[in-house]
């Protein structure tokens, strides 16, 4: 599945490690939540970077002690109808200040890109090549946003207030 980062298709340096595979000292790896919680200190001592694939039915609070040592948190959309990872993403970004890569995995289609960007995702494991290629165009499909999130886009309510102030200033 193509990975989209910084708005375009990019190579993935992270390798998903099976739970029974030995942990290599270097190289970038993605481990399961269980594997991470089994030996978080050990993983932190590796030379390579570590990321975790965090299931959507587990509280992100359990991840917080290790958050600053993780390069990637991959959140899961088992089907695109299951939106739990949007909440997890916003909590990690907005409440817990996670600055690493937040990756959307699972059933990721172009129709979710704007929602995901707004929720704080910045990497996308896209299911279809055609959707991955359409990323840049799809991501700018909307110019109006009604809700404030951590992505910093100006909301419609505030844009109206700005317009109103500039109108008043011009009078």
């Amino acid at each position: 599945m193509p990975l989209v980062k910084h708005g375009k298709v990019a190579g993935d340096r992270f390798i998903e490690l099976a739970d029974d595979a030995a942990i290599p000292d270097d190289g970038d790896i993605l481990v399961s939540a269980a594997r991470l919680l089994e030996d978080p200190q050990g993983l932190a001592r590796r030379a390579g970077r570590t990321g975790v694939i965090w299931p959507n039915n587990r509280d992100v609070d359990d991840l917080l002690p290790w958050l600053d040592r993780l390069a990637v948190v991959a959140l899961v959309f088992p089907s695109f109808r299951d939106g739990r990872a949007y909440s997890q993403a916003r909590l990690l970004r907005e409440r817990h200040g996670f600055r690493g890569e937040l990756r959307a995995t699972g059933q990721v289609l172009r129709d979710q890109f704007v929602f995901m960007l707004r929720a704080g995702f910045d990497a996308f494991d896209v299911k279809k090549q055609s959707d991955a290629e359409a990323f840049a165009n799809t991501a700018k499909r909307y110019s109006v946003f009604y809700q404030p999130t951590g992505d910093g886009r100006v909301t419609a309510l505030h844009r109206r207030m700005q317009l109103r102030h500039s109108e008043n200033a011009g009078q």
Binding site: F80, S87, F115, A156
Partner: protein, 551 residues
């Protein structure tokens, strides 16, 4: 009226462009039907028995005459010349072609209406008291808050893929016309002891397979905190609502399983971490929305104009006036309800010609404004009382002046097996038969207020649980049967009805309703004891006896 500005219009147009791309990908096979399903549902498109059905939102039930004309245009151009007003202030078109849907949406977008989130597991159309802004005694116009919620919930980046659909309703009156207690979140505007305006927030109401009356989660949330509090509820629901079983996925089940105290404390915990955030509505923002709701320049008019005195000699006019005209907050004006329940007609349907004529009458007599209520009727909210006789004649001519508002023939019914792929039984023909049985206005008037609600399946789109008489279609060995409940209501004293006995076959439903009504007439304490009050006093038993004695 709320006037969409350039910002709102841009978003609607962007949504149309996105949907056009989605339809194109479906038609080319790039999207499977399963993938497309969630996408089309989020834009109000269902696959029904015979065709695609298209549901358009009428936020908080307010329409301009221009918008109504555009709905008529869609009915005529893309459908079979009519539309169906639903119990959630939407309109449905039953015969739309998928390839033409993007054009229909683009036509609607030109007048600021859309189909965003009229289906799917997201926040649905925000509904409100259809008399908002004109009902006497209101705290304030609840549509300002409904509009804030509409904007907040439109394309929400976190809550567009909830465990199940999510419905808000809002009222600012003592008497609840918006059925807030049977919504996922019900909001009642009121003033606290300090004179501040805020909301009683109810959660976990709903009908369907497992009906619940909403419970108060917080008695007072100040207006400035409304969005953050709602976000806290939605976040708890999004994470912990059940996704393993579609029938247990509504928030009412989560509230029920956790208990309201536990659920409330989860929400409170979440809310305390984000209540002071960008979601806080400062006064200027609320005022900005408020300023875009415009109200008519009412004249100073007499309460009893000569036109009304003269028309009082016409018993047909008087019957209609007493039934369909309600007091307005401004002296000299009235709220007029237009019955979409003609004898023998499908409840809630209007033809393109009727819609156009109603739009013209709204321009002439109601400052260009029309309302849609959850009882599937329309209203003209600002009619000068002196114009009532002329308006009545015009409404009568187009068949929307049946004086049966709130009477036994003002039936709420879902589309049922005539259209719906989910239905087990027909609803519309039952409603039609009942309107014929009780066609005599004097009889219906003698019976008084009586709400009959009909659903063609357990999903309860016809709100049968909260009908004074509720009728639920079920299927038994390939035949249509109907369960009858009584004592339900959807107002501020909301209650779920009680089953009176075994289901009856299709052919007997109207007889059973007649039996129930006759029992009521014989048993009521006084002529003004309403059916619903008599059931409360007497219980189900006397009605059960009457119905099943000979069956």
């Amino acid at each position: 009226m709320y006037a969409y500005d350039e910002i709102d219009r841009t978003l609607i147009n962007e949504r149309v462009t996105e949907f056009r791309d989605q339809v194109k990908r479906r038609l080319s096979g790039e999207l499977t039907e399963d993938e497309f399903k969630s996408l089309r549902l989020m834009n109000g498109v269902y696959l029904q028995l015979h065709a695609y059905m298209f549901r358009v939102a009428i936020p908080y039930g307010t329409l301009s005459s221009e918008q109504m004309r555009r709905l008529a245009h869609v009915a005529r151009r893309y459908d079979r010349g009519y539309g169906h007003f639903t119990t959630r202030q939407n309109i449905q078109f039953n015969w739309i072609k998928l390839a033409e849907l993007p054009d229909a949406l683009a036509d609607l977008a030109e007048v600021g209406i859309h189909a965003m989130q009229t289906s799917g597991n997201c926040t649905r159309n925000i509904t409100a008291d259809q008399w908002a802004g004109v009902a006497p005694g209101e705290i304030e116009d609840p549509r300002i808050w409904a509009e804030l919620l509409r904007q907040y919930s439109t394309l929400h980046p976190e809550f567009s893929f909830l465990p199940r659909k999510f419905k808000f309703a809002i009222t600012a009156s003592q008497h609840d016309r918006a059925a807030i207690k049977v919504h996922d979140i019900g909001l009642r505007l009121h003033r606290n002891a300090a004179g501040e305006t805020g909301f009683e927030v109810l959660v976990g109401g709903g009908l369907g397979r497992t009906p619940f009356i909403g419970k108060t989660i917080k008695p007072f949330v100040p207006g400035r905190d409304l969005l953050s509090y709602v976000e806290a509820i939605l976040r708890v629901y999004n994470q912990y609502g059940r996704r393993d079983n579609i029938y247990k996925a509504r928030i009412k089940i989560l509230v029920h399983e956790l208990g309201i105290e536990k659920f409330a404390s989860e929400v409170e915990h979440e809310w305390q971490q984000m209540r002071d955030s960008a979601l806080t509505l400062d006064d200027a923002v609320v005022e900005d929305i408020r300023s875009r709701f415009t109200y008519p320049a009412y004249e100073k008019l007499p309460h009893m104009p000569d036109e009304l005195k003269q028309a009082a000699h016409d018993p047909h006019f008087e019957a209609w006036r007493k039934n369909s005209v309600a007091p307005h907050k401004v002296p000299g004006y009235a709220i007029v309800t237009l019955s979409l329940k003609p004898v023998g007609g499908p409840p809630g349907d209007a033809t393109a010609e009727q819609m156009d004529a109603i739009a013209d009458l709204a321009d002439k007599y109601s400052f260009g404004e029309i309302r849609v209520g959850h009882e599937q009727n329309l209203a003209l909210p600002h009619v000068a009382r002196r114009d009532l006789p002329a308006l009545w004649r015009a409404l009568d001519k187009i068949g929307v002046a049946t004086p049966n508002i709130n009477l036994v023939t003002d039936i709420i019914a879902c589309p049922g097996l005539d259209y719906c792929a989910l239905a087990n039984a027909r609803s519309i023909p039952i409603a039609q038969e009942l309107t014929r049985r009780f066609a005599n206005h004097d009889t219906a008037n003698l019976i008084g207020r009586l709400h009959v609600n009909i659903s063609g399946c357990i999903n309860a789109c016809g709100h049968h649980h909260v009908g004074h008489i509720g009728i639920l279609g079920v299927e038994k060995n390939g035949e249509e049967f109907y369960q009858i409940t009584i004592g339900g209501r959807a107002d501020e004293n909301a209650a779920v009805g009680t089953l009176i006995g075994p289901a009856v076959p299709y052919g007997e439903v109207a007889d059973v309703v007649e039996d129930i009504v006759e029992a009521y007439l014989a048993l009521r304490a006084r002529p003004d004891e309403l059916f619903i009050d008599a059931v409360k006093r007497l219980g189900v038993e006397p009605f059960r006896e009457r119905v099943y004695a000979t069956r």
